[in-house]
Amino acid sequence: MAQRLLLYTRFERFWHWAQAALVFALAATGFEVHGSWSLVGFEKAALWHNTLAWALVVLVVFAVFWHFTTGTWMQYLPTRHHIKEMLRYYLVGIFENEPHPTKKTELSKLNPLQRVTYFGLKILVFPVQIISGFAYYFRDDLAAAGIAAPIGPIAFTHTLAAFLLLLFIIAHVYLTTTGRTASSNIRAMITGWEETGEDGQSGGPRTGESGQES
């Protein structure tokens, strides 16, 4: 029988999807402010971008609180174990229907590549993006307080981090399809439950189709 594992609690799922929606909307409006495209017009884009940024900050505050009170932050500590195996899996094994080299448990939901990527996002890209965003918004107040806040470097940093986030989103969305089935990871992030398969291994051989065939 298939085993089920509650991987994502209610708050974690809410946080994930709210953050996803906010990041998509911030990217859409942010790149419009940047002049890359025109969807709602500069004025509305700027207004929405600034409003959504505040919403993201509120969400991040709750998320940080949640990470520390639940100890979830430990999930994101990078590890060197199995990195090679992970890379080999994505480059070779995945085409051969090999089992996923790591196992998802409540205590270790993230594979080594996820750990290092998410850790980088949380410790570097998100802070840089939020701080440069604040500096962008409050640069007059910073200047008034005697802190040099030249708009050029601020804009450069904010754009650079935006591109990094964009690259992450593309890879992230694609990699959700590499679970046990193409939609099992997304389903898990919606329902919270992951079907781990009979052997209790997550991301194992796609027994679905190939199993029937043999």
């Binding site: 402010v33 940047h34 002049g35 890359s36 017009g41 500069f42 004025e43 700027a46 207004l47 600034n50 994505y90 995945i94 085409f95 051969e96 229907n97 007059d140 708009i151 050029g152 804009a155 450069f156 754009t159 650079l160 935006a162 591109f163 964009l166 690259l167 593309i170 890879a171 694609y174 399809t177 796609r206 189709e209 190939s210 065939e213 043999s214």
Partner: protein, 530 residues
């Protein structure tokens, strides 16, 4: 937040009403000039009226004589070597005052400034009526050095009847828009010539043209912003700012002015903070005067080198465009006009320097006659709308200097408008100011920048964000020195960013495609085996 805004709005409304009250009601006078015996006489000349005025208003002439309306020299420049004022500067309209006095001084607040011998200390020569006439009948004759016509006269085909000076004297009042406009709407010698924001449309403006002067609404007079004290009228004089303390302040003592927008609107006039964040770098005018010369055309260029063409009868002539603007005049050359246009934008710190006689110019380039100060790097500079008036005017190529031509005068005086000879005209002009002239003449291209500050539109018509924050042909497309979001970017960062995005997309599609292909292959192989 909301109550704060409402309270602020309420206070703002109240201050407007208070202002209106100050002007309209509180100053209702107990004096009725129409019943004064001294004004019942039959005045024959302007100075005669002034003498009567000064019998009661004993300090009035002294006050007027201290103002730029009388001296035509900027106040703080009087004691300096670099003297600035109407007397000294050159422009690219009718070029210069000297040697053309009787024509130019028809806008002097005095009588008889016909040449260098004018007595600037004679109180009876102050013209009270040009500012205080409330009948609308008093007009200075265009060529009589500030005097009105004393008998029926003709100028440029128009008949000028002499005003009834006694009637005018008995009907004096605080100046109205028509008094100020009689000169200021006609700067440069004709309506709307010099300024893209001052013309007759401001006499009875609608709300769209000027939200403050709207004659059916706020109905501001000129003095509601250009506050007055002892005949001194607040305003900039070339490089001398209107006040040394341009911050949010209510006038506390006589002489304080509230000429700046922020004097009434405060330092955070917008409900949205993002807009207020613009104030340190963008002037109010830049957004709130969306277009210049909105109802009547203003002169954009003046090519003096085209002057002097005569018709088949050897007579000077004029040509007009479809809108009635003069585009050619034998005396003056060729003009272009523009109406309701998007102004140019520059960094401006409120100061201006003028090329004057004797300054060397670089005649290989367009000569900028007035240099408005300011730059993006200077925290005191803000983005201002300007009209750029382009000229082609006579100069001395040997001395590489701009020159003063004598334009107005009788035949044989050298005046260009009578004799049509540039060499003799410049000779007469330069002799008048005692400056050398090589005898050679040429024409050089010049530019003058005129800051735009009047004709403030209602808030709803302010320039939309995207007209500057845009990559293509924005209003600020040409303005350098700053990073403007929406207009500017780091091109190679964008290129690298989008290239990586494409590569990542290509990568995931290739990876996914391979996965699908392998799976299909396996399925096929499995079937064969089965």
């Amino acid at each position: 937040m909301d109550t704060g805004m409402n309270l602020k709005k309420l206070l703002f409304r109240m201050s407007i009403h208070l202002l209106a009250c100050t002007v309209a009601v509180c100053h209702a006078s107990t004096a009725d000039h129409s019943r004064y015996g001294i004004l019942m006489q039959d005045f024959k000349s302007g100075p005669q009226v002034t003498r009567a005025c000064l019998l009661c208003h004993v300090d009035a002439a002294r006050e007027v004589m201290e103002t730029i309306h009388w001296t035509w020299v900027c106040p703080k420049a009087v004691d300096r070597d670099d003297r600035i004022g109407k007397i000294y500067v050159i422009n690219n309209f009718c070029i210069a005052l000297q040697s053309n006095e009787p024509r130019c001084t028809s806008c002097h607040v005095g009588y008889g400034w016909a040449d260098n011998s004018f007595d600037f200390t004679d109180k009876t020569l102050v013209d009270c009526l040009v500012c205080h006439d409330s009948t609308g009948t008093y007009k200075k004759f265009p060529t009589d050095a500030g005097h009105p016509a004393y008998e029926t006269k003709v100028f440029a085909g128009e008949t000028w009847e002499p005003p009834d000076l006694s009637l005018v004297a008995r009907n004096v009042a605080r100046p109205g828009r028509d008094n100020c406009g009689a000169c200021h709407f006609y700067g440069g010698g004709g309506e709307g010539v010099k300024h893209a924001d001052l013309d007759l449309s401001l006499y009875d403006p609608g709300r769209d043209l000027d939200v403050h002067m709207d004659s059916k609404g706020n109905n501001f007079s000129c003095q509601d912003c250009h506050t007055t004290y002892e005949h001194r009228i607040a305003g900039r004089c070339y490089t001398v700012p209107a006040t040394e303390n341009p911050t949010f302040q209510l006038p506390r003592k006589p002489g304080d002015t509230h000429i700046y927008c922020r004097s009434c609107h405060g330092n955070a006039p917008h409900a949205r903070g993002r807009l207020n964040a613009h104030l340190d770098r963008v002037s109010c005018q830049a957004c709130h005067i969306p277009r210049a010369a909105r109802e009547k055309a203003t002169k954009m260029s003046w090519d003096w080198s085209q002057a002097g063409r005569l018709d088949e009868n050897g007579k000077p002539y004029k040509e007009k465009d479809a809108d009635g603007n003069v585009v050619y005049d034998s005396q003056k050359g060729a003009f272009t006009w523009k109406k309701n246009f998007i102004p140019d934008y520059i960094w401006f710190d409120g100061t201006a320097e003028n090329v004057t006689i004797g300054d060397e110019i670089d005649d290989t380039k367009i000569v900028r006659i007035n240099l408005l100060g300011g730059s993006a790097d200077d925290p005191g500079s803000r983005i201002w709308p300007v009209k750029i008036h382009r000229g082609r005017q006579v100069y001395d190529p040997a001395a590489r200097q701009l020159v003063i031509p004598k334009l107005y005068g009788p035949k044989g005086s050298g005046a260009y408008w009578s004799d049509y000879n540039w060499t003799r005209s410049v000779m007469a002009g330069m002799r008048h100011v005692g400056m050398p002239f090589s005898g050679e003449i040429g024409f050089v291209e010049t530019e003058m920048y005129w800051p735009i500050t009047h004709m403030v539109a209602p808030a709803a018509q302010a320039v939309p964000c995207a007209e500057c924050h845009t990559r293509r042909d924005g209003r600020l497309a040409a303005l350098g020195g700053m990073y403007l979001p929406g207009r500017d970017r780091f091109v190679w960062l964008d290129r690298a960013g989008w290239l990586c995005t494409l590569l990542t997309l290509a990568g995931v599609f290739a990876h996914g495609g391979l996965r699908l292909t392998y799976r299909r292959l396996k399925q096929l192989l499995g079937r064969k085996r089965g």
